[in-house]
């Protein structure tokens, strides 16, 4: 508790001080306090998870219905740890990222909002009062909006910011109604929530809509691919890595208020998860912008998490505790893992962007030779996000897969549940591998495709070290699978109807040991074989030459496969969903001068769902525009008329 409060104070101080101290010697203070505050929060969460001690803190607050009621339990702690840890590393990275930023005032404003965002996220996951939760939720949306708007002079950033703002507030609208339903029985304290009979399903639907918007579940995901590329990279890293996870936290927390779940809750999460996962990765595959690609991958990973949650809920529904435990623990561990590798990948993308001046994948190439540290870290993150052993992503996906297999073995109504989980995870895994071999292969391998990429140099140490730490963590958590359960069990027990605490993951311990052993063996074997190969080659002739080009000896960078060509067969295979647009200028005549091919994939839901709906709303609203005369006496007249109408209605 002490650590947690100290971290909140440090962050508040960081926010307060970074504005007056925007120039001069102390301008690093905002960044430093963000690091300290976030680090303390992470320790607070960790100590609660390891020590197993929760706490409650009620402070006086003179707001009707509200109270400054903070609490810590397994679920909160599991979200606080990555929030604090990733935030601290991203702040270090941000310090390096802003080092050459000429606009001090803007950078310090950014640190103000950064501190505020961490503060509001910690409050949101710690809140035990509905009003406090909503206030921190709104603070979170607003401060992240200003962080996204850092490069506000760019037109695309403005558009992204607007989309983000509208999406967040639509989501919050659902949450307001949800809290009204929840507090029907009494106050806004979480402990006193007692939803009226029959409203549980409504509350659950509102929670999925409202929190799903924050988390980025399809079809509420449209803000993600806009906002993430627009923001500075350390901001994208924390938004994608940890902020969207507060949506997952919200859904899970609301589940604890609702008692025994109904089957359709689990099914809906399962299906939304499968759709988000598969479409998320497909849209990612079709992107040309590295950060946009990563943003769509967040949709995919939130889908995987939703699959796990769906399995967990259905496990509870059908009375199978092992399935529930595996589903929930897989989802929660994937929350942590995704926070690690996604922020790593966004940092890598930012590092690439700083060095080469672009995020366009087809303008990059050959960066591994020029930026070895960024490249190796990005490679680790790519392998981890594809769920490859021996890294952490595999372990969480394994837990969800196991829930699926257990469901299949249980049979009955659970058989289709397991089949959906296994087949969608399998497809997602294969496509994710396609997507990240493209992202890493085209950006970091081969020849540079532009002069800027050829001139790229490694980023400064403040940017490189956070990536190295995160990459090391990917490996460590993958190999330390058997121990991770001690961190997951307190959180999972919050979600089960009859919490039994420790030993929940006991049945899979043997499997986790197996994974850990095979993973270690894989690493050792690779190193040993590599050493052996080096020894064997040491005494022989090793020459360096050109890449084989069928006898052609002057290959150029333009002859390489590009990201677009690499992804084309797969994108074409799924053109039903992706609807890629192509502009072709074919070579014409006997001596053709030029030819070009341009491909672009818009977001299906943005184009087919939101644009028509919002255009309709705008058209309807414009029908009433003649009422707005802009002259005061007209408005006075409206008020008088309204008052008159109300009066007559009342007197009737």
């Amino acid at each position: 508790m002490f650590l947690y409060v100290a971290s909140l104070l440090a962050l508040a101080a960081g926010a307060a001080l970074s504005i007056p101290l925007f120039s001069g010697r102390w301008r690093w203070l905002g960044c430093a306090l963000a690091v300290v505050g976030s680090g303390l929060a992470s320790l607070a969460g960790l100590s609660s998870l390891v020590g197993g001690a929760g706490w409650d803190l009620v402070l006086p607050w003179s707001v009707p219905m509200g109270s400054l009621h903070l609490g810590m339990d397994g679920l909160t702690a599991l979200f606080v740890v990555p929030i604090g840890f990733i935030r601290a590393l991203a702040a270090v990275y941000g310090g390096g990222y802003f080092r050459k930023e000429p606009n001090f005032r803007r950078a310090s404003g950014s640190w103000f909002f950064y501190n505020l965002l961490v503060l509001s996220m910690l409050l949101a996951v710690g809140a035990r009062n509905g009003l406090l939760f909503l206030v921190s939720w709104e603070m979170m949306s607003l401060s992240s909006f200003f962080l996204v708007m850092f490069h506000r002079e760019r037109e695309d950033v403005g558009r992204a910011g607007l989309t983000y703002m509208v999406a967040m507030h639509l989501g919050t609208a659902f949450l307001l109604v949800m809290f009204l339903f929840l507090s029907a029985g009494g106050g806004m304290e979480f402990d006193s929530f007692a939803p009226a009979a029959g409203t549980a399903s409504v509350i659950f639907a509102l929670a999925v809509l409202g929190f799903g918007t924050k988390a980025g579940l399809i079809p509420m995901h449209v803000w993600l691919p806009e906002a993430h590329p627009a923001a500075p990279s350390h901001v994208s890293a924390v938004m994608s890595g940890v902020m969207i996870k507060t949506g997952i936290y919200g859904i899970l927390r609301v589940l604890t208020f609702l008692g025994t779940p109904l089957p359709w809750w689990g099914w809906s999460l399962l299906l939304v998860g499968a759709v988000s996962g598969v479409l998320g990765v497909l849209f990612a595959l079709a992107q040309h912008d590295l950060k946009r690609l990563l943003a769509y991958h967040s949709v995919e990973n939130i889908g995987i998490i939703a699959l796990g949650m769906g399995a967990g809920i259905l496990g509870v529904v059908y009375g199978s505790t092992p399935i529930a435990v595996l589903g929930f623990s897989g989802a929660l561990f994937h929350v942590v893992n995704h926070a690690i590798f996604k922020s790593l990948l966004f940092m890598g993308a930012g590092s690439v962007g700083r060095a080469a001046g672009t995020h366009q994948i087809d303008r990059l190439g050959g960066l591994l030779q020029r930026m070895p540290a960024t490249g190796s870290a990005f490679l680790t993150g790519s392998a981890a996000i594809c769920g490859l052993p021996p890294l952490n992503g595999f372990v969480s996906e394994f837990l969800i897969f196991s829930a699926g297999f257990l469901a299949v073995v249980s049979g009955g109504p659970l058989l289709p549940v397991g089949t959906v989980i296994i087949s969608s995870l399998a497809l997602i895994g294969g496509l994710a591998a396609a997507c990240f071999t493209k992202a890493f292969g085209i950006v970091f391998l081969g020849f540079p495709r532009s002069g800027d990429a050829a001139a790229a140099t490694e980023s400064n140490r403040a940017m490189v070290w956070p990536m190295v730490v995160l990459a090391a963590l990917c490996v460590t958590l993958g190999l330390a699978a058997p121990w991770v359960r001690f961190l997951l069990e307190p959180a999972v027990s919050v979600l089960l109807p009859d919490p039994s605490g420790a030993g929940l993951l006991g049945p899979v311990v043997a499997a986790l040991w197996g994974i850990s052993a095979v993973g270690a063996a894989l690493i050792i074997l690779t190193l040993a074989l590599f050493w052996l190969r080096d020894r064997v080659l040491a005494g022989r002739i090793v020459r360096v030459s050109e890449t084989w080009g069928c006898g052609y000896l002057a290959p150029t960078a333009r002859m390489q496969y590009t990201a677009s060509s690499f992804a084309q067969p797969t994108v074409n295979m799924f053109r039903m969903f992706l609807r890629p647009k192509q502009t072709v200028k074919e070579p014409d005549g006997l001596l053709p001068e030029s030819a070009s091919l341009h491909t672009h994939t818009d977001d299906l839901f943005r184009e087919r769902l939101y644009v028509p709906v919002f255009t309709g709303v705008k058209r309807a609203a414009s029908l009433l525009r003649w009422l707005h005369q802009g002259q005061t006496h007209f408005y006075v007249l409206y008020i008088a008329l309204t008052a008159l109408v109300l009066l007559t209605w009342r007197l009737w």
């Binding site: 089949t419 087949s423 391998l445 081969g446 190969r533 690499f566």
Partner: protein, 305 residues
């Protein structure tokens, strides 16, 4: 049988796997009216490659050099998870099938990256096709295993194969064996770069998948890649043989011989397929793999109980 005996089939896989390619070659020679190469030719090829030096493209990085060894290491790890007979696998746990599939994903990941590392358009082309087809193949494979898990109520590879051979309750599952077996066979052909998906014979880069990805590898690296390919075929073939043949239901000494015989029979079958079929057009390959997935799904539907 005791656990200590598990090492014998592993050794057999390590030694015998290149021999599968001789069998395939001999079968094709028979159909083509030729004599075929000596039976030990694949061993000689690998041995020759391992004695060579190396030529590296100046574009390549360490990724290119790690690719072949990491690929071989992942197949070896997968081998440890494969039940190669009645004694089960070296390492076995509930859900090990997921790790098994993902180890092949690791192999593919490093191979594809090594291909992209050269900056060659040919290798990019092969890599692009490889990731496209394997995504579909993986789904078919997982669905097949799901059907077997539903049939046997086990979730480890050793458990599934053991139950398929021994338990009386699975005998109602003959159609399941057949459907899953055919699905797995298609996946095996696709994953091991055989006809009708890929053509291991041609060196016309535009039509190839796997061979074109390793165009720039030579010497020791190529030797390691070829050996890893042999092991991969052996591992998948032994899994398929375990599904189709009721090895566990007979005496253990006999069953120890049944499985290798089944694997060799499978190699003959591959040779027959390659001699009698043409390679599919690339746009048709996804349909074949989706069909394999549908077969596995059918198997899941007809699982009794």
């Amino acid at each position: 049988m005791e656990r200590s005996w598990s090492a014998v089939p592993v050794l057999m896989a390590l030694v015998m796997s290149p021999f599968l390619f001789s069998v395939i070659n001999r079968t094709k020679a028979f159909f083509g009216g030729r004599r075929g190469q000596p039976l030990l030719q694949p061993y000689a090829d690998i041995a020759k490659l391992l004695r060579k030096g190396a030529v590296y493209s100046r574009t390549t990085t360490r990724v290119f050099r790690i690719g072949p060894v990491a690929g071989l290491a992942s197949v070896l790890a997968a081998l440890a998870l494969t039940p190669l007979g009645p004694s089960g696998a070296l390492v076995s746990f509930e859900g090990d099938v997921v790790l098994f599939v993902y180890l092949f994903a690791v192999m593919r990941f490093v191979t594809v990256l090594a291909a992209l590392d050269t900056g060659s358009a040919f290798e990019g082309m092969g890599a692009s096709r490889e990731v496209q087809f394997s995504a579909l193949g993986e789904v078919a494979f997982f669905l097949g295993i799901t059907a077997l898990a539903a049939l046997t109520h086990r979730t480890s590879l050793s458990g599934i194969l053991d139950a398929l051979g021994n338990s009386p309750e699975v005998h109602g599952g003959r159609p399941v064996h057949f459907l899953v077996g055919s699905s797995l066979f298609v996946v095996l052909l696709a994953e091991n770069a055989r006809l009708p998906v890929d053509d291991p014979e041609t060196h016309l880069e535009l039509t190839m998948i796997h061979e074109v990805m390793v165009l720039d590898h030579g010497g020791v690296d190529l030797g390691l890649i070829q050996y890893a390919g042999c092991l991969k075929l052996w591992v998948m073939a032994s899994l398929l043989a375990g599904v189709v043949l009721p090895a566990g239901s007979v005496h253990t000494v006999a069953s120890a011989a049944i499985l290798p015989a089944g694997i060799l029979a499978l190699a003959v079958l591959i040779g027959v397929v390659e001699s009698t079929m043409a390679r599919l057009r690339l746009v048709m390959v996804p349909q074949l793999l989706v069909a394999a997935g549908v077969l596995a799904l059918l198997a899941l539907i007809v699982v009794p109980g």
